[in-house]
């Protein structure tokens, strides 16, 4: 599945809201992820201190990013890795394909990696004659269904188990058609057996990285299934694909991020597998890769540096903002038409792909602020979304109606007397017999489509403030 190139949020959200199966699937996010995080955070009274420390260490990395990257590269190369710096998606895809070619690879196993989704790696590898197989269960399911992920940590959260069974029946045609796939256990057992064979015969294993440790050149990979470890240990060649902001200074800093990551993401105090690895198998070791490449991807990130959007580079992709977003849990990920979804995606997508093709995303937000409250890296997501709204308006990517509405509002806002008069007139008209709550508001039809403006009671804000001050 190629990365989506354009968002049609309003259109696609409407479709998602009408999809009862999808909405039933999304309900699980509230019970599992939100409650899980709440329980973990309640058990760690120093969680706010950890958030402060996490944000501080990422700020430090961003301030001196070139220095940390250079140190990481030197450490990793001293332990047998080859480090590649790739300016854009094309550069990264070609670098990875060249490595696969050099290895004489056919079968390529993959651990879950959002940056490989971002650069559109799988379709490119297929085009170049390789067979990439996703090994994370959720990624495997959506690869078979030829869909993009709908959540950064639960890519198949939109799929019901009956749909998984249908998908497996279609994909695993060599198995007896009458087999029972009605339970979670049966589906799991089948996926385990299918993928085990791939792990053992793959020529190249590609994984992402949750962190890159500048101190040691190690990458840190956090998973629950163990697929990332089989992917990076069994094939003779391991390729790590990571975006340039994944750096942490030292092992101590990695520990701070680990304390935040599992709790924020899945509500676990630790994921099952946290692996620190670097380079090739050492002398005397009997397993692990004989070749190791690290592909560092910029693809628009260095352009965020020195702008107000630099804060977004602290993101550790835990998904807490997504799980707590009232918009996301109602429409799911596909409505965003992007690899990254929810609040973090609505900031990142316009920055990485361009605002023109993503202009609706900053508006897919109620400004409730919950995302910023739960973000372990204290990223001011609503502020960044608001800033992107300004830019969308300035570039005239928003609708003519909304710009006209804002122009009228601005005109009144700059003329207080006229504004007060308009407010009084409007209020008086709504109180006329037979008028009542406003069900349609000119130039704000989208707003009133789902809400009524109630009849105002008492005077306006200015009148009340004046009365209170005894004026």
């Amino acid at each position: 599945m190629s990365a989506p190139t354009r968002s049609h949020f309003v259109r696609d959200a409407r479709g998602a809201l009408a999809d009862t199966k999808l909405r039933a699937a999304l309900l699980n996010i509230k019970t599992m992820f939100r409650n899980g995080r709440a329980r973990q955070v309640a058990a760690v009274p120093e969680f706010e201190e950890l958030r402060d420390a996490g944000a501080a260490l990422k700020r430090e990395v961003i301030d001196n990013l070139d220095a940390y990257l250079a140190r990481f590269a030197a450490e990793a190369e001293s332990r047998g890795a080859k480090v590649h710096f790739c300016a854009d998606a094309k550069d990264a895809r070609e670098t990875i394909a060249a490595i696969c070619r050099e290895q004489g690879a056919k079968l390529v196993t993959k651990g879950k990696s959002m940056v490989t989704e971002e650069i559109g790696l799988n379709p490119y590898l297929v085009e170049q004659g390789f067979t990439p197989v996703e090994t994370d269960l959720g990624e495997y399911i959506i690869q078979l269904r030829d869909e993009p992920p709908s959540h950064i940590i639960a890519p198949a959260v939109h799929v019901k188990k009956e749909q998984v069974a249908e998908t497996f029946r279609a994909a695993h045609a060599e198995l007896p058609p009458e087999r029972d796939l009605s339970t979670h256990d049966a589906l799991l057992a089948e996926a385990r057996a299918e993928l085990r064979a791939r792990f053992l015969s793959a020529d190249v294993g590609i994984t992402g990285a949750n962190m890159l440790v500048a101190e040691t050149g190690q990458m840190v990979l956090v998973t629950n299934e163990g697929n990332g470890d089989l992917t990076q240990t069994l094939p003779k060649c391991h390729v790590i694909v990571a975006s340039i902001e994944k750096l942490v200074p030292s092992l101590d800093d990695a520990a701070t991020v680990l304390r935040l990551l599992g709790r924020s993401a899945t509500g676990q105090h630790a994921s099952s597998y946290t692996t620190l690895s670097v380079g090739t198998r050492r002398e005397g070791e009997v397993d692990g890769p004989e070749t190791c490449h690290v592909v560092l991807v910029d693809n628009g990130r260095s352009a965020m540096l020195g702008t107000p959007f630099e804060d977004m580079l602290r993101c550790i992709r835990c998904g807490a903002c997504i799980n707590h977003c009232p918009v996301f849990v109602n429409v799911g990920g596909h409505a965003y038409g992007a690899v990254y979804v929810g609040p973090m995606g609505s900031v990142l997508t316009p920055l990485l792909r361009g605002l023109e093709s993503s202009a609706e995303l900053p508006f897919a937000c109620t400004m409730c602020g919950r995302c910023a409250e739960v973000c372990p890296m204290e990223i001011p997501l609503p502020d960044l979304l608001r800033r992107l709204r300004f830019e969308a308006h300035d570039h005239a990517y928003t609708s003519k109606t909304s710009r006209l509405g804002l122009a009228v509002w601005t005109f009144l806002g700059e003329r207080p007397k006229l504004m007060r008069l308009a407010a009084r007139l409007g209020g008086a008209m709504m109180r006329l017999p037979g008028a009542g709550a406003l069900r349609r508001w000119p130039l704000a039809g989208a707003w009133t489509a789902a809400r009524d403006l109630p009849v105002p009671e008492g005077g306006g804000f200015v009148a009340r403030a004046n009365a209170k001050n005894g004026d």
Partner: protein, 220 residues
């Protein structure tokens, strides 16, 4: 590297100060990381008179591992045999090249070295345990290969009480002190799991379906 590398050059153009100053700042920060925020819950349990091994065991079980305590290395060997019997395990076994991990060698075919993938049981030796998360630390070496941690369905890991530390930061010095950093360090917390089908927790996807930890004392 900055001169010839367009990515680093693009970053450098946006950063304050000189490249030398940034390199010095990074080197200093790496050498002297700030005091970590440790979890107070661990310190509180220790203050109640519980041992690190006690805290480790409780938190590891919370993550789905089964912890067995043994008073001595000899008792640990007996515990391994008891697990074999109680769980009705069958071989072959892939095991660490460590005398303690050989306790079941007369019960089934056992071999050291890398796992082949057809061994239902792996018996490993942990370099450390981390109490704050109940995590085992398994370090790649000729004697303790990484594949044995992931391919078998049942993973049995032997850990000395003396090797349990409170927090991640207490293990890093051991790692830093090595002349050669191992290729792989696995921190393992419970068995393999997934929530990828309807966010329903399921155990044993690609890695072990069960994790048994034998924590043993020095016999004193």
């Amino acid at each position: 590297m900055t001169d010839t590398n367009p990515v680093l050059a693009a970053i450098a153009r946006t950063r304050r100060g000189t490249a030398e100053a940034r390199a010095a700042a990074a080197a200093h920060r790496i050498a002297q990381p700030p005091q970590a925020t440790r979890l107070r819950a661990v310190a509180e349990e220790l203050a109640k008179g519980r041992s690190l091994a006690d805290v480790f065991a409780e938190i590891a079980e919370r993550a789905g591992a089964t912890v067995h305590r043994a008073a001595s290395p000899e008792a640990a060997a007996e515990t391994l045999r008891a697990i074999w019997r109680d769980k009705a395990l069958s071989g072959p076994i892939v095991r660490a090249d460590d005398p303690l991990c050989a306790a079941c060698d007369d019960l089934a075919e056992a071999h050291t070295g890398a796992a082949r993938g057809d061994e239902p049981v792996g018996i490993s030796r942990a370099a450390a345990g981390i109490a704050e998360t109940g995590s085992l630390v398994l370090v790649a070496a000729a004697e303790t290969p990484t594949t044995a941690n992931f391919l078998p369905e049942t993973h049995v890991v032997v850990l000395a009480e003396a090797d349990v530390v409170a927090a991640f930061e207490d293990f890093w010095p051991t790692l830093r002190a090595r002349n050669v950093l191992p290729r792989t360090v696995n921190l393992i917390t419970g068995p393999s799991r997934t929530g990828d089908i309807e966010l329903t927790l399921q155990i044993g996807v690609h890695g072990p379906r069960s994790l048994h930890i034998v924590v043993y004392g020095d016999g004193r």
